[in-house]
Every structure is written in C-alpha cells, then in structure tokens.
C-alpha cells in the first residue's frame, strides 16, 4: 500500500476494485500538520473521470503495471502510435498523453516507456531528459551569456517554453520532462 501523497500522475491505484489512473495529484496542507491530496482520476475500464480528495496519509493500493520500451511512430488522428523493438504497434489517445504532449514530435527517437493495463497502453513516459530543436525564437540578445535572462521559444511541434536569451533558431536544447523546463543548450 502507498499513501495518497506518494502517488504521482500516471500511476494507477485500485480503489474499491476498480483501476484508476491518476491524471493529476495536488497536495495541500490543511490544519495541524495534516494534508489533503486532490486527485483527478480516470477509470481504466470505463473511461469515466472523476475528482476526489484524500487525506495525505490515506492508504491506497497501487497497481503495478507492465512496462515496455517503445519509440514514437506516427499520429493517426485521433491516436498516437508507438512501436516496440519487435515492431508491435500500440495506439494511445491524446487525452492519455496529457502530461507529455509538449514533447511528442514527428521523428523523435527517444526511447519511451509504455505503461499497460490489461494489454492496453494507458500512458507513455518519456526519459527524464530529452533534446529538442528550437523552431522559432526572437533573436539572441548580444552580451548576455549568463543564461539567467529567459525568452520564449517554440519547438518543432508548436510547444513553447522559456529558454536562455542566448538561444537561437535551430539550437538544440535539453528539456527536463518532469517539469517541462529548459535545462541547457547542447550540441546536436
């Protein structure tokens, strides 16, 4: 068993015999050193969504899921298709990729982890660090090499994030997929 505050988005809990994937978990301190966790859940069997709240130390049963390494293949509206090393294809809906959509792009070669429940992909996790190319950003500011001044950059898939002001169109950058934040400019 795990406490409610130990669960993260993408993980699955057995709640009264039903598998629920945690789409979002928000921790808040209430009174007298107690805390509550608000969760947005989706039932893996029915697809029904709900919002709940737990005491932070409420115990929930985690469901250990099968995981497999996959790479992204293509988008076949409305499904995203991933493939494993044996060329098996797995389809997943956009809503189940909510936490990683900003990092999905055509031609990406990152080795991801597909998470399965009853032989169905329910989520895909990317590596902690990925490299993406800047499609557009305002011209670099001369003289600023500190990296502390930030500006908006757009990636090839249209996602935007803040990058160091010295980054330019075409630069490759490292991104932390846990936070969605820029880490560093890197060589291709």
């Amino acid at each position: 068993m795990k406490t409610a505050q130990e669960f993260r988005a993408g993980q699955v809990a057995n709640i009264n015999g039903q598998p629920w994937v945690i789409q979002k978990a928000e921790f808040n301190k209430s009174g007298r050193n107690a805390a509550v966790v608000k969760m947005k859940l989706k039932n893996l069997l029915t697809g029904a969504g709900t919002e709940t709240v737990f005491k932070a130390d409420d115990k929930l049963e985690p469901i250990i899921l099968e995981r497999k390494e996959v790479t992204y293949s293509y988008f076949a509206d409305p499904l995203y298709v991933f493939m494993d090393s044996e060329f098996n294809q797995y389809e997943i809906e956009k809503s189940d990729l909510e936490g990683v959509m900003a990092f999905i792009e055509d031609g990406m070669t990152d080795v991801c982890e597909a998470v399965f429940y009853n032989d169905r992909v329910i989520s895909v996790e990317l590596p902690t660090t990925i490299v993406r190319q800047i499609a557009y950003t305002e011209p670099a500011v001369r003289g600023d090499t500190s990296g502390k001044v930030m500006k908006t950059a757009r990636l090839n898939n249209g996602a935007e994030l803040q990058v160091s002001a010295f980054c330019e169109i075409g630069d490759f950058i490292e991104i932390d997929t846990r936070t969605g934040e820029y880490k560093a400019r890197v060589k291709a």
Partner: protein, 377 residues
C-alpha cells in the same frame, strides 16, 4: 427532515476541536431539528466549555445534544444516518464497518480545518472513496462562496448589535467578571498561544497616554505574562497594574460569555479557529494567533486570510496589519506598526463591521451541511 447524526471529536490540544463541534451540535439540534450525538474523547475539556456538563458521565443530554464519552475500547453502537469526523479524526474501526453494513449506509463527512486559501473551494464537497466501499465527503469551512461557510447561530448578529448598543448590559457583564470599566479606557482581550516577545507588545500600552485594560482568559499566555509582570503564577481574579496598563486575569468562561467578552472589547487577540471566527462575528478589530505548523505552513494560511481581509482596507493600515499579525504569529516584536494600528482602531472597527457583514451574506455552515446532506440522501 430529521436525521440522526453522530459527530466525533478527538481533543488534540486546546479547546478548538471541542468548541467547534459543540457549537455545531447545538445548532443542528436547536435550529435544524436534528438528533445529534456528540462523541468526545476528553470530557474534562468539554466541561471547561460547558460548566453544566459532568465529565464523569458516559452519556448526558445538554441543550438537546446527547453528549457521549468516546471511550477506548469502543462499544458497538448503531451508526447514525449522518456521521461527521471532525478535523480528520479517525473513527473507530468497528463503527466504520457498521456504517457500511446499514441497510442505507451512513453519509460520512470529514469536517475539515478552516482556511482562506484558494484550494479549499476546489476540494470542498469532493468525495473520498474509502476501503469499506463508502464515500466520505470532505466539507471545508470557508470565507467565500464555494466553501462550506462559517458557524453562525441564528440571531447571533442581532444579539451582538443589541448588546453593543446597550452600555448598561456591557457594564453589567464586565462587573460580573470583576471589572469596572472606565469610559476613556481602551479594552483589549487577549486569548493567545505562548508569546515570547510579549514585552514588546505590552510596554507601548503601559507607557502610552491612554489607559488600557487588558483582559486575559486563563490559558497558555499566562507564563509569559507573569514573567513580564514579574509576578508568580497567575490565576483567575488576579489583577496587576503597569503604568497605563491594567491587567485582569479572567476565568475560563462559557461560549456565550466569551462572545460577550469579545463584543465588549475594542480589540480582541484570538487564536486558532473557534475564537478567531467568533472575533469576526464580534465586528471588532482583531489580532489572530494562527495555530503554528511545521515548516511554517501556517504563514501561507495567515497570508491567504489577510489577502481577503485587507481587500478594501487603507493601504497603509493594511501593511501595518500584515506586519503586526505576522510578528505576533512569529513571536517577534511588532515595531512601529503596532502603535500605528492602535492609533487607528476606529477605522479598523469600521472595517471589521464591513467584513462581518460580508461574511454574514454567506449561508451559515450548519445550514450548508444540512443542505449538503439533503442533496445526497
């Protein structure tokens, strides 16, 4: 519709847990026509709040509420239609099982702690699926629409206005506490946790130009106060003078009398949750000692309340209020802001009255609870 209610209260520290649940239980019976059992694990704490209670009795009926000792080990009891665990206390396991086994399972609520933070309305009323198949609902008190509101008895504000408009009633009440107030005196009540910097707060009062009478109920502040006064242990009935400041130690009083005390005063120092809410209904300036938490989590809650409370307050006064309240809660000296605030009590009183009126526009907590239950049963 009349339903049976079981309200569970575990007394952790101080009197807030039992104070809030006792008010709620009375209101559910007297105003909502419900049948209520109030389960308390520490009846001696309850007896301080309700002098007519007998801490030695396992069951007694007071003001229509059946007050029961929450004993260990638990004695099997048929659960009520509605069950409230106050402040996230843990119900007896056997009772939880019995709730689920009822032909119509009990409606289970967790009455949470009061906070002004934004996330409270996001969580208010949400279900919490439990291992026994029941759903527990989180019910959050609060200051705004979208929360469960605040405890407020029917007619409370009318009684307060009548009392505050009746000088003789005020004098009679204070005489009953052994206090003969003088018209020119500033009357301050102080019910707080420990305050290591108390000297910095009281010296300006003692050295000021206006006579001040400080009324301090028995409680956790007394050792710090005794140290400043250079006195031995303080007891109810004691009084001391220092310059312009007269200090009176008051006995622990009943809830209605505590309300009257707040109504009498020009400034009320309060703490925790129950007295904090009562001071807002008193429509008088207040100084809040928030319950301290680990990692200073209470400061976020203090700031969240001040952000709401200071919305239409003069900017300089708002800054002074924030500074003073934070210093009080951090056990620090207040600086110039304290003197500034004391010089603007009339403006703060007007503000307190507006705030009270704003809060009173919300449906009270007991009514909201009953509405919530009615919608789910």
């Amino acid at each position: 519709m009349t339903r049976s209610w079981d309200v569970f209260c575990a007394v952790v520290d101080n009197f807030g847990d039992v104070g809030v649940t006792w008010r709620l239980a009375r209101q559910l019976v007297e105003e909502q026509g419900q049948r209520v059992r109030l389960w308390i694990d520490d009846l001696s704490a309850f007896a301080r709040l309700c002098p007519e209670a007998d801490a030695g009795l396992a069951r007694q009926t007071l003001h229509g509420v059946e007050v029961c000792r929450w004993a260990q080990p638990w004695t099997d009891t048929d659960p009520a239609d509605v069950v409230i665990e106050a402040f996230a206390c843990r119900l007896p396991e056997a009772y939880e099982r019995a709730m689920a086994q009822r032909p119509r399972p009990s409606l289970w609520l967790n009455l949470e702690y009061l906070s002004a933070e934004d996330w409270v309305s996001d969580c208010h009323g949400l279900p919490s699926p439990q291992a026994n198949g029941l759903f527990k609902y989180f019910f959050f008190p609060g200051f705004t629409a979208g929360t469960g509101g605040l405890l407020r008895e029917r007619g409370l504000l009318e009684r307060r206005r009548a009392f505050q408009g009746d000088g003789e009633a005020r004098r009679t009440f204070l005489r009953g506490l052994g206090i003969e107030p003088r018209p020119e005196e500033l009357l301050i009540s102080l019910f707080s946790y420990e305050q290591p910097a108390l000297e910095a707060w009281l010296e300006p009062l003692a050295n000021g130009t206006r006579p001040v009478r400080l009324l301090v109920p028995e409680g956790r502040l007394l050792p710090d106060l005794a140290r400043w006064l250079g006195a031995g242990a303080l007891r109810a009935g004691d009084h001391h003078e220092r310059g312009q400041l007269r200090v009176h130690i008051l006995p622990f009083v009943s809830q209605p009398d505590f309300d009257r005390l707040l109504w009498c005063c020009d400034l009320n120092g309060v703490r925790g949750e129950d007295s904090f809410v009562r001071a807002q209904w008193a429509a008088r300036p207040l100084l809040w000692h928030i319950y301290p938490q680990e990692d200073q989590a209470h400061l976020d809650k203090l700031d969240a309340f001040l952000a709401r409370y200071c919305v239409d307050l003069d900017l300089e006064l708002a800054q002074a209020l924030r500074s003073v309240w934070r210093a009080w809660c951090l056990g620090e000296a207040p600086g110039h802001a304290w003197t500034l605030l004391l010089g603007h009590l009339p403006a703060l009183r007007e503000h307190a009255a507006r705030w009270c009126a704003q809060l009173a526009a919300q449906e009270d907590l007991a009514s909201q609870l009953c509405g919530f239950v009615a919608n789910r049963t």
